[in-house]
Symmetry: C2
């Protein structure tokens, strides 16, 4: 049996594949597998005999029909056009984020094996007037095409699961901080940048007000939760297959205070504060805190505090 990871060449996808290889056999409920297939526009960087790469377009049904075969135990669907690009290039976002998700669900359905299917969604599905702490039953009001496409994907996964076509689970990921590497086109890219660049001695700009509250998770916490998402018993989800993954709620000012505690005042001084309305409008429409009592009761976890998130990055990438 195999596990398919779309977006397996990306930061999160390749990290998930490494975690599956290292810990998969020990996770209760995770289907037994002897192969992992990455589907992405680039090859997966993980070097392991059990990992193979299919390079191509996630929205291509013919490609998916070749990859998603009856021996598929589980699918992680992480591939997406990020928020900034989906807003700037509407058709590209619709094709990859909507058509791609649907094509993958159809391919999974066609196997007849109802594989487990974990869909990575986003807090960008929320928007408009919101209480300080977002309850699980708040209506979605996306303020970006990315958010709308993710909300549509959630509905598709839930309906395909209700019909028995897949054993679906939707994980709304917090903003993942700190991502290594270069800035990307996500509206949230700055949230990693204002930690990563100063720790590397480089300047970074914070385009949103310092009082902006964000819902964050370290890469390690998200990976732990993605592994758990596939392991949790579907019957315990009681037909509500969309979960707000636990995160920590911090303001940008809190983040910069952590940067200073971990990296020193000189690092903090490298952050400038030029407001960028295009970014702020999107990011400030996202909720900054959630009631996650149900996912916590289901065994999902979160980081202890933001200092530990900064140290996680420093120890792995800036050491």
């Amino acid at each position: 049996m195999k596990i398919i990871v779309t977006g397996g060449a990306g930061f999160l996808g390749s990290r998930l594949i490494r975690a599956l290889l290292a810990r998969g056999a020990s996770i209760p409920g995770l289907p037994a597998f002897d192969a992992i297939v990455s589907v992405d526009l680039a090859p997966c960087p993980v070097q392991d005999a059990r990992v193979s790469s299919v390079v191509g377009d996630i929205a291509d049904p013919a490609l998916l029909a070749r990859v998603v075969t009856a021996d598929t135990a589980a699918i992680y669907h992480l591939a997406a056009v990020v928020s900034g690009q989906a807003e700037a290039e509407f058709e590209v976002g619709m094709r990859v984020n909507l058509d791609g998700t649907r094509a993958l669900l159809d391919a999974a359905r066609a196997t007849g094996a109802a594989p487990r299917f974990v869909f990575a969604s986003s807090l960008a599905v929320f928007g408009g007037p919101m209480p300080a702490v977002v309850p699980e039953d708040l209506a979605l009001l996306p303020q970006s095409s990315y958010g709308a496409q993710k909300a549509i994907g959630e509905l598709l996964v839930n309906d395909y699961a209700r019909k028995g076509f897949v054993d679906g689970r939707v994980c709304r990921l917090p903003t993942i901080v700190v991502r290594p590497g270069k800035p990307n086109a996500a509206a949230s890219s700055f949230a990693s940048g204002i930690i990563r660049e100063p720790l590397g001695g480089q300047p970074a700009n914070c385009p949103v007000p310092q009082e902006t509250r964000m819902w964050l998770s370290s890469p390690n916490a998200v990976i732990d939760n993605l592994l758990h998402a596939i392991a949790v018993d579907g019957a315990r989800l009681e037909g509500r297959r969309t979960l707000n993954l636990p995160g920590i709620s911090v303001t940008v000012a809190d983040m910069l205070a952590s940067l200073e505690r971990v990296g020193g005042a000189a690092a903090r001084a490298l952050v400038s504060h030029e407001h960028e309305e295009r970014i702020a409008r999107i990011v400030c429409s996202w909720p900054g805190d959630f009631d996650v009592s149900r996912p916590l009761a289901l065994g999902f976890t979160r980081d202890g505090d933001f200092d530990s998130v900064v140290r996680q990055y420093r120890d792995e990438f800036a050491g």
Copy 2:
């Protein structure tokens, strides 16, 4: 300028077209028009020089490109595969209800004229645990593919409107009672049947428990609200373009009591009560009452009581 009505051959669509012809010029805010084009699988039955019919598939982009031209002032999108059929024939529902809606939005976008766009949605977008009175910001949890497809259509209309591609409004229609003619494949078809058949001297079955609470509207009230939906100033919607149209909240027992008051005890006695789980499971997942303070403040209206709904049918169709 023209107005396009998809589903213009149907009961609601043809009734809307007659109302537009009779009252359109007098509705403040409604764009001036000299033609109405019906798009449906059958020709529109309305005989009027201003009405033309395009017979074809709503999900065919080439057909839509011919119909949806730059002189389109407004589009009513009523065409859909109903709930029972969408559940039984998954691919048909996805193609018509999802692909069709998206293709129509894309055709409207391609005109560059941002026409007004009224999308008929449904209370089938709701499901799962619900308060007795559903607030406007309750999360959607559809329990049918029809409901999921309508919820996806709502997200599309809102995003296309946010991007300025259309001037969109989503009307979640109550269950429309009393529909004339024959039963259809909608799970709610019985709600008209238990009034219509007895008033015509025929037996009818009620497949759900009598305490089932339903959210209902007469055809006349829905038509008034669809006309108002296109007339209301978009700025007053404050980015929340999805509206629960006002209805009245009655139990099936209330409906049968109205039938007896209007049609007599003999009519009431024609209704049998054989439970049908397939129907009950869908209908009982729908909410029976809504907080509609915002739509009422925006000028939408509703029936006075269910007796008047029964009399409306009797006077027009059973007289």
